[in-house]
Structures are given as C-alpha cells and as structure tokens.
C-alpha cells in the first residue's frame, strides 16, 4: 500500500516504539547484570544511576576481568562452572535440532507428496505427542533412561529434545514442501528419477529457507526447555534454564548472577538466529502460498 511521507514516518516511529517496548525488559535485565549488588534493589526502582560493574560476570564465569579471583563462596556453589554449562546448552540445542530436522524432513516429504489412508489423522497424532504435560513424559523417561544408561548423558537430553520438537518440525516442514509445486516432482518422476533423488536434489534445496526457519524454532525450544533437563540430568551436564535456578539459594536469590548468565546465554541463541534470519522470515510461510 502506498503511504504518504508522514504516514511513513508515523509507521517507522510506531514500529520503533513497539519494538523498544518489547526490548525494554531485556534492557532492564542487562542493567541488573551490570549493577552492583546494592543497586539491583532500590526504592523506588531505578533503571539508571548506578556504577556499572562486571562483577556478576566474573562470578558466574569464573573469569577475571581486572584481577584474579580466588577462594570464595558463591551462590550455586561453584566457580568456573557456567561456561561449560553454556557449552552443554549449545551442544544439546545443535544436535537435537539437527536430529529433529533430519527426521522431520524425511517424514514431511511423503506427508506433502503422497496421499495415504488416515493421513490427516496421522498428522494429528504426531501433533498430539506435544500435548502431554511434560511432567507426565518426564517420569517414564527417567526410568527408561536409567535402564539404558541414558540418564545424565548428552544423548539422552538430545533425544528427548528432538522428540519434543518433532511435531512442530513435521508440521512446519510439511507446509514448506506444500509450497513447492507438485508438478516439479511429477516431471522428474516421468524422467525416471527416484523419489529420494527428487527429494534430495530438487525439493529439499527449494525448501531450504523453510528448513532453516524450522531449525531456528527447534533450537529456541531446546535452548529454553526446563523440566526434561531438570529431571533427566544430574551433574555431568545442565543447560542454562536449569542451571540458572541454582542462583535461587536459601539465603536469597543472586539476581545479578542470574541476570549475567541470562544475558550471556542470549548471545549464542541470538547469533544462531541472525545466521538464519533471512530464511526465517522467508521460510515461515506455513503453506500460505497455496490457498
């Protein structure tokens, strides 16, 4: 639609206002990460007016930005332990995303291209696996995992996160494949190409934007998941959401430390999003091309 210059200016202004309103809590959280302990709480609450310090980051990551740190008692009780936890989060999110996307892509293709009996119900069943309250999945999984030695392992968490994302991934990918005209497949079939070849050489490359968009969402859901990781891990790995709860101690919550971890944890996920940002918007069409 054509807009007059002032309408355009208004739109830009409004858009920035909205986005900044959404960004404000994050900004506020960042200030908490950089506030000295005494300034996090004040009456009345303040956003500005403090001397920024990196102490929270030093404590959380056991690093030294100024001078060495030594023996001390920290909330959550461990120095030098948050960087490995960030790494755990990255590993879990990346691998579970990869697994979910591969399996979901394979499944989405026939769901888009072939017709079979009860197909609609099958898709609904896939979707329904996301409907169970997580606590109900966590308990049986705990016993299976214990029996198969998957408890407290990367493999275990990766598998459960892949499962958790499967319905979403299948649904999204199917709609992306739906956007690609089926005539292309038919032409290739007549030329004698196998289904798999069509899938790999033609359809998949065309749907790459959608695959990227799916990957981002899977990544985000794995990155932020709480209850499965809490139940299925012990000490050998922990992701950011679970480990951040260790800052809730019996003598009070270490807000600065928690904010610092939260701030740092935004970076890898955001980088991942930026890398696929273009595809994200282009890809998330949910089949709307074919109305």
């Amino acid at each position: 639609m054509l807009l007059s210059p002032w309408q355009r200016a208004l739109r830009i202004g409004l858009a920035w206002a909205v986005v900044l309103a959404f960004a404000f809590p994050i900004f506020y959280w960042l200030t908490v990460a950089f506030k000295p302990d005494g300034d996090i709480f004040s009456v009345p609450p303040r956003v500005f007016g403090f001397e920024p310090t990196v102490q929270s980051f030093e404590e959380v990551f056991g690093i030294s930005l100024g001078f060495e740190r030594g023996l001390e008692v920290l909330p959550g009780g461990g120095n030098f332990y948050m960087l490995p936890r960030l790494w755990d989060s990255v590993v879990v999110a990346l691998f579970s995303t990869a697994l979910a996307v591969v399996i979901a892509t394979l499944a989405a293709y026939p769901l888009s291209r072939m017709r079979f009996r009860l197909q609609h119900h099958f898709v609904f069943w896939v979707l329904s696996t996301r409907m169970m309250p997580p606590v109900a999945v966590a308990i049986p999984m705990f016993f299976i995992y214990k029996n198969f030695g998957l408890l407290d392992t990367y493999t275990g968490v990766i598998l459960i996160h892949a499962l958790m994302n499967m319905p979403l991934a299948v649904l999204l990918l199917k709609s992306f494949f739906d956007d690609i005209p089926v005539e292309i497949d038919e032409a290739a079939l007549i030329d004698g190409a196998s289904r798999f070849k069509i899938f790999r050489k033609i359809v998949l490359p065309m749907a790459m934007g959608g695959v990227a968009a799916t990957a981002v969402l899977c990544f985000i859901f794995s990155w932020t998941e709480f209850l499965f990781v809490l139940t299925l891990t012990q000490t050998s790995l922990k992701t950011v959401p679970v480990v951040s709860s260790t800052f809730v101690t019996s003598t009070g919550t270490a807000w600065g430390n928690m904010a610092a971890l939260g701030a740092a944890a935004m970076v890898p996920a955001f980088v991942f999003i930026l890398l696929v940002q273009k595809n994200l918007v282009r890809g998330l069409t949910l089949g709307s091309l074919k109305q």
Binding site: P36, D37, G38, F41, S42, V43, E51, T53, Q55, E59, S64, G66, F67, E68, R69, G70, L71, E72, V73, L74, P75, G76, G77, G78, N79, I139, F142, F143, K146, L151, L230, T231, Q234, T235, S236, S245, T246, F247, V248, T249, S250, T251, G252, T253, A254, G256, N257
Partner: protein, 502 residues
C-alpha cells in the same frame, strides 16, 4: 617499597576494603598503584572478593588448612575407595555452597574420591529425591534432607550412628556425635527412633533489628510478643513508609508462609496438631495468633504477600524494615557492605518469649512448639547407594568439626550444628560488624537453639500439608478470600484432617 612492605600495605588496604571503610574503586586504584595487577592478587591468601554469598576475610582464607591428622586419616581410610564417585543433590545452602566452591577439592585430593554436588532450589531437590527413592536406583549416594521431609525419607537412609558403630575402620576419630547440639539432633535428625541423617545446617528464626532505629526511637529489644508488635507499630508510625515496622515471607502457596505462621502460632500457645493427631490451629490460641499476625502485617511493606525468604531478606537489606523475626542465616549478608544498605546496623537477639507454650505432649507427631522456628537439614547416606562407604566418609568429613569451622568462617550464613564450632577461636574471631562473613549473630543462634527452638511435626503427609495445604489456604486468607481467621482455620482443619485420614 620492597616486596614485603608492599604486601603488608596491601593487606591493610584489603582489610579496610573488607570492613567497608573504602569502596571497591578506591581499593582497585590503590592495588593498581602498588603494581599489583591480575597476577599478584591471585595469591590465594589475598583474595577478598567475595560474592553475595560470602566475603572472605584474608584471615579466613589463610585458615583453610586442615590438620595433619585429618589429612592422614582421610588418605589412609579412603584407599579402598579411591576412584569412586559420590553424588549429592542439595539445596543451595551455605554449607553446600561452601563445600562445593571452596572445600571439595581438599577432600577429593586427600581421598581420591570424586564428589559431584548438584545444587538446586528446595522444591527441585525434593523432586530429585522422590524419583531416586521411588525407583530405588541409587542415582544419589547422599541425600540432603530438609527437616520437613524427615518422616518421608526415614526408610531410605542408613542410620549414621549404626554405621559409625558397625564400621569402626571407617569411623572418623573424634567425630563425637555428642558434640551435635542435642536440641538439633531431636529436631532435625530423629524420626521414630531412627537417626535419619547427620545434622548439617541450622537456619533458625532469631530476632534481628536495626540498632540505629531502635536507638533513635528509644526502643528496647522486645522480650515478649506484645513488645515485638508494639515496636513494629512504633517504628512504622515514626518512620513509615520509608522504614516499615517489620517484614515477612508470606507468598501464597510457598513453604515460607507456613514457616512464618508456625512462629506466631507457637508464640501464642497454639500448635499445629493436638495430642489426638488432629489439626489444632483453629483453637483459641490459633485464632489469637492470626489476630496478632493481622496487626503485625499492617506494619509490613505491601510486597510481603508476594515474597519468599528472598524478598524478605532483600527488604531488610535495603533498609526497608526496622526489625524482623526470621532466618538467622540472613544476618551475614546484611552485614556485607557490598550488597546491603544496613551493613553494621543490624543486631541479633533471641526471639521474643512466647505468651504461652505447649509442651510436646500437648501436641502431635513430635511437634516441638517454640518461637524460633527451625528449618534445619541433615545429610544422609542413601540405602540404595552403591558406594555407601565412600559416601559415609564424605558425610563424616562434611559434618566434622574442622569442616564446619571453615564453612562458618567462609561466610554465607550457615548455622553450625556442633557445639564446639560456636566456641572455636577462628569462628569467634570473625564476630565483627560490617563484614559479610560475620559470626556475631551466632550467640543469639546458639541461645535460640537451646531455649527457643520450635520444630515442625514429623509425619509422611507433612510435605503436602506444609508446602501446599496450609500456605495455599493462608494465601487465600491474606488475599481476602476468607471472611475471618476462624473460617480459614476451619477450612485448613478440614483439609489437613482429610489428608491424614487418607
């Protein structure tokens, strides 16, 4: 300056910094001038940069030096278990945090036993333990047991006294069970004649107040419930709303609300249960307690109904409250000049005397009325563990006198469970105002444990009653959903008696 002088000077600067006489900036500037950049300050005896949890005075850091006896015994006894791993799931409490961040390496080095400590908030520890005992899989070797879970887990642990006697070769010399404060052993470790675990930590309600405010208004430390309320009203009147009379931990549906309630209940001669095993909070004493609490709440900040111990602690640390009856473990953090606005201004005292107090025989399920509500915990060895002996070694070491001394001086606010720790010279040396690792509240803590301690009843249903039934209904009451104290107490009685009846 030669190197020695420089170190001396630095030590004095560090000391001033620790006492809050100079701020962090000034300290850094001075340190920088001395040419002590990153590397030099890494010397472990000169590291005063504590976190919220604790602030280590240089003196304390130097004293982490276990006796040769301990080291030799650990080395010798642990030989068969070297290479084993013991796992512990624990709440994020001062002793666990101190062990995990500072003391654990010593134990691991001396014994060759690997220690993995999973630190979680209270509810999540319960979740982990529940899964572990229900499956009997022994995924943890040690349990951190809050006193309110004692009954639920009494069948899943090894009695430490039996273990001590049964395995003399593993028994730590001078471990001395009698050194544990007797009231604590009763209150947090014993259930039905079984010693469920070793007393590990003792957060307990003591009275803490602002000396400056008290002096200004000419108030004296309350000795009775009535005086406590009168002081709160006086402070509120003179200073409110910038300083409230008192504060609380009254979040609906949270265990902390139940803790506050029991203190007022017991303080008015009431009890949770009667000798018949039925809920008794709706009797006259119980209703008097609520009436008192209502008056007290008028002198609290509006946020109390959304606060757990976290918000309560912050409100005092920010100078919002003139006095409080709450966990003694807060005290050191309020003295921390870095995070608190009331550093050096707080004083600790025993709780006000109860108007009347029931005896244990007038209550049910081993409930011990007392204004000093205790939230202690014990460390237990799991019956399902596959490395019970290694776990038992760790449990002895973690609760040994020496370890408790270090935990206490490292800061964080622990309440030691051994009598000898309160008398230890190193602990007493830290009883200075204005430092985060202060121990100057411990006299009040010890006195409270001996004479004012209140313990919750022990029954398997208690976890549900104390974490849900009572705090949810009380939360409703404070949100105005009940017409009267009588209505809410009657409703709680119905529910609690129903749960116990099954």
């Amino acid at each position: 300056m030669n190197n020695g002088d420089r170190k001396l000077y630095l030590a004095s600067v560090v000391d001033r910094y620790v006492r809050g006489q100079i701020d962090r900036r000034a300290f850094l500037r001075t340190a920088g001038k001395l040419g002590l950049g990153a590397g030099m300050l890494g010397v472990s005896s000169l590291v005063p940069f504590g976190g919220r949890g604790g602030f280590i005075s240089p003196a304390a850091a130097q004293t982490i030096q276990y006796s040769d006896d301990m080291t030799a015994w650990l080395k010798e006894t642990a030989k068969p278990f070297a290479g084993q791993t013991v796992r512990l799931a624990t709440e994020s409490t001062p002793p666990s945090n101190a062990i995990n961040s500072a003391l654990k390496p010593y134990f691991e080095e001396a014994t060759g036993i690997k220690v993995e400590i999973e630190v979680l908030p209270l509810e999540q520890v319960l979740q982990k333990l529940t899964l572990d005992v229900a499956s009997g899989l022994g995924t943890y070797d040690l349990y951190y047991l809050d006193q309110s879970w004692m009954a639920s887990f009494s069948g899943d642990v090894i009695d430490p006294r039996e273990k001590y006697a049964a395995k003399p070769d593993l028994a730590m010399p001078n471990y001395n069970f009698d050194d544990f404060l007797p009231a604590l052993v009763d209150g947090i470790s014993m259930y039905d004649g079984i010693m469920v675990g070793v007393p590990y930590d003792i957060p307990i309600f003591i009275q803490m107040y602002r000396k400056d405010v008290y002096d200004e208004l000419g108030l004296k430390v309350p000795a009775t419930m009535g005086e406590f309320l009168a002081n709160a009203q006086a402070i509120q009147k003179a200073k409110g709303p910038s300083i409230y009379g008192t504060t609380g931990q009254m979040k609906s549906g949270h265990y902390s609300l139940e803790c506050d309630w029991t203190a007022w209940l017991w303080g008015h001669g009431g009890s949770v249960f009667g000798p018949d095993g039925k809920f008794a909070g709706n009797d006259d004493q119980g209703l008097a307690a609520i009436a008192y609490w209502q008056k007290l709440k008028e002198n609290m900040p509006s946020g109390v109904t959304s606060w757990t111990w976290d918000g309560q602690g912050q409100s005092v640390g920010q100078g919002l409250a003139g006095q409080v009856l709450s966990w003694g473990e807060f005290f050191p953090s309020w003295d921390n000049p870095e995070s608190s606005k009331v550093s050096g201004l707080m004083e600790a005292a025993v709780p006000p005397k109860a108007d009347a107090l029931r005896t244990v025989s007038e209550t049910g399920y081993g409930e011990i009325p007392g204004v000093g509500h205790q939230g202690g915990s014990s460390l237990a060895v799991s019956k399902y563990s596959k490395s019970q002996d290694a776990a038992w070694l760790f449990a002895q070491w973690a609760t040994a006198q020496e370890t408790q001394v270090y935990i206490t001086v490292l800061g964080g606010g622990t309440g030691p469970t051994r009598s000898s720790v309160y008398d230890d010279a190193r602990v007493k040396a830290n009883a200075k105002p204005g430092i985060a690792g202060t121990t100057r509240h411990l006299d009040a803590v010890r006195e409270t444990i001996a004479n004012h301690m209140g313990s919750e009843p022990d029954l398997p249903e208690w976890a549900e009653i104390s974490n849900d039934t009572i705090p949810v209904e009380l939360g409703r009451f404070w949100a105005g959903e009940y017409d009267s104290p009588k209505a809410v107490m009657d409703s709680i009685k119905d529910k609690v008696d129903g749960i116990i009846a099954g």
